[in-house]
Amino acid sequence: MLEITAFESRRRVRGTLYFAVALLAYSGLVLAIFPSIEAAATDIQSYIESLPPEVRRAFGGEAATYTTIEGFLAAEMYQFVFLLLLGMYFAYAAASTIASEAERGSIAPLLANPVTRTRVVVGKYLSLVPSMLALNAVLLVGTYYGVILVGETIDLADLALLHALSLPYLLACAGLGLVASVLFDSARRAQTVGAGGVFAMFLVDAVTFDTDYEWLGDVAFSRYFDPAEILVDADVDWAGIAFLLVAAVVLVVLSAELFERADVS
C-alpha cells in the first residue's frame, strides 16, 4: 500500500536535508540575537507599548512577553517558519507532486501500473509526512539545545507541543497544494497557486485581524494555529486544530476525486 509513499519520500531526502540545515541556521541566528534583546528588555518593551495596537501584534501580542525566550522565539522564528516558510514549502511540494509528473509525462507509465489514481494521490501526499516530521524534529532539537547554549531555559514539553501542533497546519497547507496539483497540468502554475494560496491566507488573516472584516480570515489556516499562544501561554485552540485536520482530509479527498475524473496524457 505504501510503495508510492516510500518511493516518493526517498526522493525528498536530499531536499529535506538542505532545508533542515537552512532552518537550523535561521534558528541559530534568532537565538544569537536574543541575549542582546534580553539585555535591552525595558527599552524594547516601552518601545513596543508606544506602537499602535495593530503593529504591536507583530511582536507576538504582549510587550512583556516579547523579551522572554518563548515570546521572542514565537514572534521572530515560529510565526515565520511555521505559518509562512514551512506552510508555503509543503504547499509547494504538494503542488509539485501530480502536476510535475503530468507536465513531464511520467504520470502515464505510473498509472499504467495496477494502482488507482486515489492511491497515487494519497501516496504522494503521505510522502510529505516524513519530511514534515524530520524538519520538525531537527528544528525542535536544534532550537532546544540552542536555547540552552545561549544560557536560557525553555520548557521542552511546550516546545515539543508547538512542533507537534504544527503538523495539522502543515497537512492542511499541503492539502491545498495537492488540490492545485491535480487542477493544473503545469507544475509552475500549481506551485504558484499552492504556495501563493498559503501566503494569501496568511495575509488575509493578518490584515483582517481585529477589524470588521475579521470573518474573512476565518478560512485562513493560519488563524487556527497560533505559535505564540501555544509557546507563551501554553494555550491550545483544540477546535482550531481539529478544523485544520478536517480541512486536510477534505482537501485530500477532493484532490483524489478530481484526479480520478481528470484526463491524463
Partner: protein, 321 residues
Amino acid sequence: MSASTAIALDGLTKYYGDVRGMEDLTFEVAAGEVFGFLGPNGAGKSTAILTMLGLLSPTDGEARLLGRDVTDREALLDAKREVGYIPGDVTFYDRITGERLLDYFGRLKGDQRREELLERFPIPERRPIGDYSSGNRQKLAIVQAFMHDPALVIMDEPTSGLDPLLQQEFYALVEEERARGVTAFLSSHILSEVRRICDRVAVIRDGRLVTVEDVGVLLAKSGKVVAARLAESPDASAFDIEGVAQATVADDGRYTLIVTGNYDGLIDRLGDYTVEDLEIRETSLEDVFIHFYGAEEGFEPEERVPEDGGDRPDVRAGSDA
C-alpha cells in the same frame, strides 16, 4: 464479445473540446494476436491507447481490456494487473536509476521476469535514467512492460530509438510471447515492422478507422503495382479506368498504377502509348498506405524503407521506393 477477446473497442470516441481525437473506433483484438495500429503522426493512435488504458475518459463509446470496462475504476485496476505498457514518448524519473525504477514498478505489479529480460535488453541499471540514451530508455520501457508477465501488452511505437539488432531481439520477444498466448497491441508507422510481426492491422486516419484487416489479406486485396515509363506524357487521369485503383505520375515521368481488378483496360490504354519500360510487382504495405492516405499525407520516405533492407520478398522488379 468472447472470453478470448483481449481488447474490444465499441464506438470509442474522444473529443478534446471541439477537436476530434478519435471518433467511433470499433474493433476487437483476439487473445494471442499481434495487432498493429497504424497511422501517421497525429492520426489519433496515442489518444486511442491512452483511452484504452483509462488515462483519458472517452467522450462516447466503450473500451474493454481483457473483458473489463476501463471506465470502471475497480475493473480497470483488475485489468491493469495483467497489462504491460510501453509509452510512446518514454519518460520516467530522470534522477533515479533504472534499477530503482524497476524496483518501484516491481513492487506495484510484480517483476518475476525482470532478470531474464534485462539479459536480453541490457541497460546501465545503476545510472540515473536522465543519462540514458533513447535506446536505453526504450529498453527500460520494454523490460518494465513485460517483467510482470502480462497477458496483454500495449505498446506505443515500441521500437523507436532501438538499433536494428535490438529491434530484431524485440520482434523475437513478441513472437515468443505470442506463442505463449500473450496479446500484443502496438502502434507503429514502421511498415516493415508491421509486416514482420503483426497478424492484423487497424488503420486510422484523422481519428477515424479506415480498415481492420489481416496483413496478408490487406496486401492481397491491394492488387499489384504497375510501374511504367512512356514516351508520351499523358496526364495521370488518362489511367482513370476500370481496374486501376490509383494512378500517379512522378516528377521523373514514371507512372505508378495500382491495379486491383483485371488488366484488360490497362493493357488497352497502354497500347495507346509507346511503353519504354514496364514492371509489375506485388504491392507492399507502403503502397497500401499511399493508397489510403494519398502520397502527400503518407509516410516519410525514411519511415517507408525497411531499415534492414530485407523482408520484402514481394519486390521482384526494381522498385522506385
